[in-house]
Amino acid sequence: MEPGTLSTFLKRGAIWGFIVFELIFFSLAGEFLSFSDKAFMDLDNMLLLFKQSAPIGIIAVGMTIIMINGNIDLSVGATYALSAIVLLDSMTWPMFAGMGNAVIPIAWGLALLTGVVLGALNGLIVWKTGVDAFIVTLGAMLGYRGLVFMYNGEQPTSHLNWTLVDFAEAQFLGLHTATWFLVAVTAAVWFLMNKTVHGRNAYAIGDNRAAATNAGIRVGPHMLINFMIIGFLASLSAVAFYSESGSVNPNDGELYELWVITAVVLGGTKLTGGAGSVLSTLGGVLAIQLLRKGLGHIGADTETVNLAIGIILIAVLLLDRQLNIKGKEELRV
């Protein structure tokens, strides 16, 4: 069985089953509970679903790499916010004055660079000090957030560039710009993890670090690169989102790390590393977004939304467990 083929995909199928369940449930419930005449499974609504999944989704794809590699990154939310600030603020820098819209690609580049640098910093610390990635990135979650606040105090950083907004709101072949970002990232990372030496080594490191070391794989550089990738993707997510919204609050992106990790784990990636798939992560992201959207569609209030999200996360695990229930012959451990 070659890694990443259809069969592995279906084996982790609980999440897709759950998505189908959500679609059916909210369509039916929507008939009774929603005041809208529009059906839940309306095409435009589904296209919106993809678009709205993009900010979390792009980061989650990166988190999949990190978690397959056996690490975790809690600082993605702060990286996202800081990159957004760089993106929006750099367009107003005097040195780029008079460039017109040519400043846009420069701003994008700077934002992405920010993410890569922050990621690299995490990666280097993990590599060189040997401190667990959980601690390093938990610290960075605070530290990077501190940088965010340092940049512009408590004020939001804003720059509305309507050209940029129009670009971000555009639809090509029906899909929104942000959706294209998500699709491209998923495809690229799928390729990276399943088809390249770097990806396969990352799996090996997460699966059995000692074995990888024994086989002469350089663990440190792989981790560094993966942290740079997730930094890049966190800022790419910011680029996709803030191009459209044009203003960033200093506390934007808070709690993203938890939702991102939830999506990744729902998709079947192991917290301990070594196993996981980008496509399933995408399933996890869609499932969560669909849940929020659906609950909004049927008009659930805040308490209910919180209760429902909690209960449903657990229900998905139960479903997964039922699907993979062990035979009677299995060891009772």
């Binding site: 435009d44 709205q52 900010p55 939001p156």
Partner: protein, 294 residues
């Protein structure tokens, strides 16, 4: 034909003001037979709020009320709604000027005024006590990054030197709208500064947290002023421990927003800026006000 009105709130779980707002909004809508609502909570997340606006547009509601998580970031989403021909009403905290073209009306309190009035309450009290020339105060602000927190701090900081130029604000630290956090912050202030004559807090929740810290360390004579009156603050005022605050009602806030939306849909003229009054409340005049429900 019923009016379908959707609202995207800022962050309902975060404090009782917003929760009470939500409840008041729902009951006001229930009371009006012509109105159907869908109430959404952005949980403080801009991305989620924008998604909610998009969803509301997609569901073809008749009007959208928005309590912005970020007064600028929602502008493109608001533009979308306005392009789709859906009137948008902003509630509680306004959006930035660039977006004014896309919204019909704003209704809500004026946070800057609230901050300014708190400064006046504080200053008047110091004058009464005869320490207006030397008083030292500390500030405990709301959660960093929130417009409300920023504006309440801003209003206070601008107004104070105008009315009481010799009062010094020695330090500001955020208390995150959280009584417990504020208590910790105040504990550190008390250790650090031997003279503190007054505490200004972004709301009474934090003000009471600071008060608790002062009580625990036995420091008397500190004047506590908040920028929004909560029931805890009101009670502390009754006990004579807390000097004053600003009376602001989430029920008024919610009802005003809904009414504005209904008026807009009914084709009535509404003023663009629709502030409701937020009066000062102190131990002296508190008998004129009933205890806040939140």
């Amino acid at each position: 034909d019923t009016m379908k009105i959707g609202i995207s709130q800022n962050n309902v779980g975060v404090d009782s003001y917003q929760t009470t707002y939500e409840k008041a909004f729902i009951s006001a809508a229930d009371a009006n037979a012509d109105v159907e609502t869908v109430v959404l909570d952005a949980g403080g997340d801009v991305a989620r709020q924008i998604a909610q606006i998009e969803d509301l547009i997609q569901q073809e509601v008749d009007a959208i009320i928005i309590w912005p998580t970020n007064g600028e970031a929602v502008i493109p989403a608001v533009r979308k709604a306005s392009k789709a021909g859906i009137p948008v009403i902003v509630t509680n905290s306004n959006i930035a000027e660039q977006g004014f073209d896309f919204v019909k009306s704003f209704s809500g309190p004026d946070n800057i005024t609230q901050g300014a009035r708190s400064a006046e309450i504080m200053c008047d009290k110091f004058k009464d006590m005869g320490i207006a020339d030397k008083a030292k105060i500390v500030q405990i602000s709301g959660q960093p990054g929130y417009t409300t927190a920023i504006e309440r701090a801003q209003g206070f900081e601008e107004r104070l030197p105008e009315v009481c130029p010799n009062v010094t604000l020695v330090e500001t630290q955020p208390g995150d709208w959280n009584r417990e956090k504020s208590q910790k912050v105040m504990e550190a202030f008390l250790v650090k500064y031997d003279d503190i004559d007054g505490v200004y807090a972004g709301d009474d929740n934090m003000g009471v947290g600071a008060l608790n810290a002062a009580k625990a360390s036995g420091r008397d004579g500190i004047i506590f002023v908040g920028a929004t009156n909560f029931s805890v603050g009101y009670e502390a005022m009754e006990r004579g421990e807390y000097w004053g605050s600003i009376y602001q009602s989430p029920v008024d806030d919610a009802e005003a927003a809904l009414q504005t939306a209904v008026d807009v849909l009914a084709g009535k003229e509404v003023p663009f800026l629709n502030y409701f009054d937020t009066p000062k409340i102190t131990q002296d005049n508190m008998s004129n006000y009933s205890k806040p429900v939140f």
